[in-house]
């Protein structure tokens, strides 16, 4: 009886820690998205700050990117359309990393546009933002590895 309980606890802990990476990335994406959906004007200004995108494209990006983040976040947390969500999240994080590196090396004084809801008036440390994104990217990769190994086990 006692051994059974220990095994159950172990399984519970294992399944929790396996889910943790996608929960973390999912919640971060939901949090990031909500702020931008509430205040898309600030997000549009943040996108313009990179000086990389066509002016006509900026409002379309500001209107759609937060919803992509939101649905990816929800999909990761609820384990729905998880393969697509992992792919999109990974691609978004890679592009964010490239953009932030560009901003650092071009010496841009900008808000990264990551968390409009939390951003202050002061300039952000873009290296910190870059390494946070790298961390999230690693967690996304971990989720992907778990998915593929789970699929391989099912095939066996």
């Amino acid at each position: 009886m006692n051994t059974n309980m220990n095994i159950n606890k172990k399984v519970l802990y294992r399944s929790f820690f396996q889910r943790l990476p996608r929960f973390v990335v999912g919640f971060v994406f939901i949090l990031a998205a909500v702020g931008k959906i509430i205040d898309p004007m600030s997000f549009a200004t943040d996108i313009a700050g990179y000086q990389l995108f066509l002016a006509n494209l900026i409002p379309i990006m500001a209107a759609t990117i937060p919803w992509i983040e939101l649905f990816c976040g929800i999909a990761l947390v609820l384990n729905l359309k998880i393969y697509g969500a992992v792919l999109l999240t990974g691609l978004m994080l890679i592009s964010f990393c490239v953009l932030i590196l560009y901003a650092i090396f071009a010496g841009l004084d900008i808000n990264c546009g990551c968390f409009t809801i939390l951003s202050s008036e002061q300039s952000q440390n873009l290296w910190l933002v870059f390494f946070r994104n790298i961390g999230l990217l690693l967690l996304t990769f971990l989720t992907y590895k778990q998915l593929t190994s789970a699929e391989a086990e099912v095939k066996k």
Binding site: P40, A44, A48, P59, T64, I68, Y83, A85, I110
Partner: protein
């Protein structure tokens, strides 16, 4: 060969990841654009020039700081009279590719060391003892300096303008930068191609 490639692409699109990603993208884009269209207020307008918006924000920031700014046209007038030295706050590589003719390099990364050396009346030497001819060679209190970097959003020129102003040198910031200079028909000294 062509068939094989098309089959490969078809198989790739068919994979779970990509089909699901397209579904999420499609739903997000439809909802995002609809939500923006239906918003009574606070939606992102499609007819606003966002680059002008951020340029105006930047200008108002300078207005509230102690940095004096100069327009491109006024800077050109100074240049014609040879009454100002331009300070280029970009990287050495960017400077070598092209810069305002009467400009010297003043990288913010070594600004403190450079300012210290020039204030002592010495030329700046890099840690390995090299003197770079592109760098500003001397600083004078009566001279007018105009700091610039690539454009409206870079903050490098702002940093050196702030530092030199605090050190008591007549420094003006040209917020429009090299982009603004070129847009107004300003000349640029480009790298000589061998």
């Amino acid at each position: 060969m062509k068939e094989k490639l098309s089959v490969k692409i078809f198989n790739l699109v068919r994979t779970k990841s990509i089909s699901e990603a397209f579904l999420i993208l499609a739903v997000s884009i439809i909802i995002g654009l609809s939500a923006n269209g239906f918003r009574a207020e606070g939606g992102v307008p499609y007819n606003v020039d966002w680059y002008k918006v951020i340029a105006n924000q930047k200008q108002s920031q300078f207005a509230s700081s102690n940095i004096s700014t100069i327009s491109v046209n006024a800077a050109m007038a100074f240049d014609e009279l040879s009454e100002a030295i331009f300070l280029d706050a970009r990287t050495q590589d960017e400077f070598k590719q092209g810069h305002i003719p009467n400009a010297k390099l003043f990288p913010p990364e070594i600004a403190e060391e450079l300012l210290d050396a020039l204030a002592r009346g010495e030329q700046y030497k890099s840690p390995d003892g090299v003197v770079y001819s592109e760098l500003l060679g001397s600083l004078e209190k009566g001279q007018v300096y105009i700091a610039y970097c690539s454009g409206l959003i870079c903050n490098k020129a702002e940093k050196i303008a702030q530092m030199l102003t605090e050190a008591g040198y007549n420094t003006l910031l040209m917020p429009a930068g090299l982009d603004g200079w070129l847009a107004n028909g300003g000349k640029m000294l480009e790298a000589q191609r061998n």
